[in-house]
């Protein structure tokens, strides 16, 4: 019992850190206090599902709280522009989760790190572009900042490029991206439905982003 109380206390600091970081990324569409509130509510469940044998509590909580906050914000975000930016940040954060620790790359030279940084930025840009091009079925299209006719046309072209690149992806990668970002389904339930672990699904997601990015750059 004491351990649980201690963990909750520790978890509050994690909630603040995660909420602060997500507020910086999501910008004026969300309030820091709103994210903190979502995080605090989610913390109880996170504490209950924690298994000390698998990871430290702060690491586990940071991961779970981040996605709990994203899911709740997504559920309540309907304006097209805000929904697109949210999808973009979610894709970016999902991709960041598998970024290798540079400290473990003892055999890499400065050029190797430069190449890895270039790859990271290319993939992150692709994740953001993909997110921005997504119009979820439940997002409003006319009432917020749709932009000038040129911008609407340009966005439609990017969306068509992303759609085209998506159709060339292997089936599971395509299903994962389409169902999660276009259909709004939870990542974990898609993984379960596809019969793969969440970790493997995340790797398929990274591969999909890299392939999409290459396709978008090749057709620039």
């Amino acid at each position: 019992m004491l351990a649980e109380v201690d963990r909750l206390r520790e978890g509050m600091a994690v909630v603040d850190a995660v909420a602060y970081r997500l507020a910086r990324r999501l910008g004026p569409h969300v309030e820091l206090e709103e994210l903190r509130g979502i995080g605090r509510l989610a913390l109880v469940g996170v504490n209950q599902s924690y298994d000390p044998a698998r990871s430290t509590f702060p690491a586990y909580a940071a991961h779970k709280l981040k996605w709990a906050i994203f899911d709740e914000v997504r559920r309540t975000t309907h304006a097209r522009s805000a929904a697109a930016r949210l999808s973009a940040v979610m894709a970016s954060e999902r991709h960041l989760e598998h970024l290798p620790d540079p400290d473990e790359a003892t055999d890499l030279s400065g050029e190797g790190f430069q190449s890895r940084l270039t790859g990271l930025l290319e993939d992150q840009a692709a994740a953001l572009a993909m997110g921005l091009s997504i119009s979820r079925a439940d997002a409003m299209s006319a009432s917020d900042d749709s932009g000038s006719p040129e911008e609407v046309t340009a966005r439609a072209q990017v969306a068509a490029s992303v759609r085209g690149a998506l159709s060339d992806l292997p089936e599971r990668e395509r299903a994962l991206v389409e169902r999660h970002y276009y259909g709004g389904e939870a990542f974990e339930s898609i993984a379960e439905d596809l019969g793969i672990s969440k970790s493997w699904a995340s790797r398929l997601h990274d591969r999909a982003i890299a392939t999409l990015g290459k396709a978008l750059r090749d057709h620039a």
Binding site: R21, R24, R25, G27, R85, A88, V89, S92, L96, L99, P100, D101, P102, D103, L108, G110, F113, Q114, R116, L117, T118, L120, L121, E122, Q124, A125, L128, A129, L132, G147, S148, E151, A154, R155, Q157, V158, S161, L216, R217, A220
Partner: protein, 93 residues
């Protein structure tokens, strides 16, 4: 939001990543994308390390290296892998 605008090298890395999308997204979206990439590099601990490791070695214009009374280097370029040398060529710091 992180500001990398005073870091020319970092800005160039971000500009290169954004370049394929410049004519395909609105100016506001491109600016937002730049901000997001800067935020990723500033806010994720592993990305921060990667930036430090990837950053090219830079030398002060004068070549001068500031040291304390014991000869220890007071300032080196952040994250660089420069090994400062004494005048006789032996490693210092």
């Amino acid at each position: 939001m992180a500001d990398s605008s005073d870091d020319l090298w970092l800005t160039a890395q971000i500009d290169a990543a954004v370049a394929p999308y410049v004519d395909r997204l609105s100016e506001a979206e491109i600016a937002w994308m730049r901000e997001q990439l800067a935020e990723v590099l500033a806010g994720d601990p592993r990305a921060q390390k990667l930036v430090r490791r990837a950053r090219p070695i830079t030398v002060d214009e004068s070549g001068e290296v500031r040291r304390d009374a014991d000869g220890k280097v007071l300032q080196t370029p952040l994250g660089s892998n420069v090994v400062p040398l004494r005048r006789n060529g032996t490693k210092a710091g």
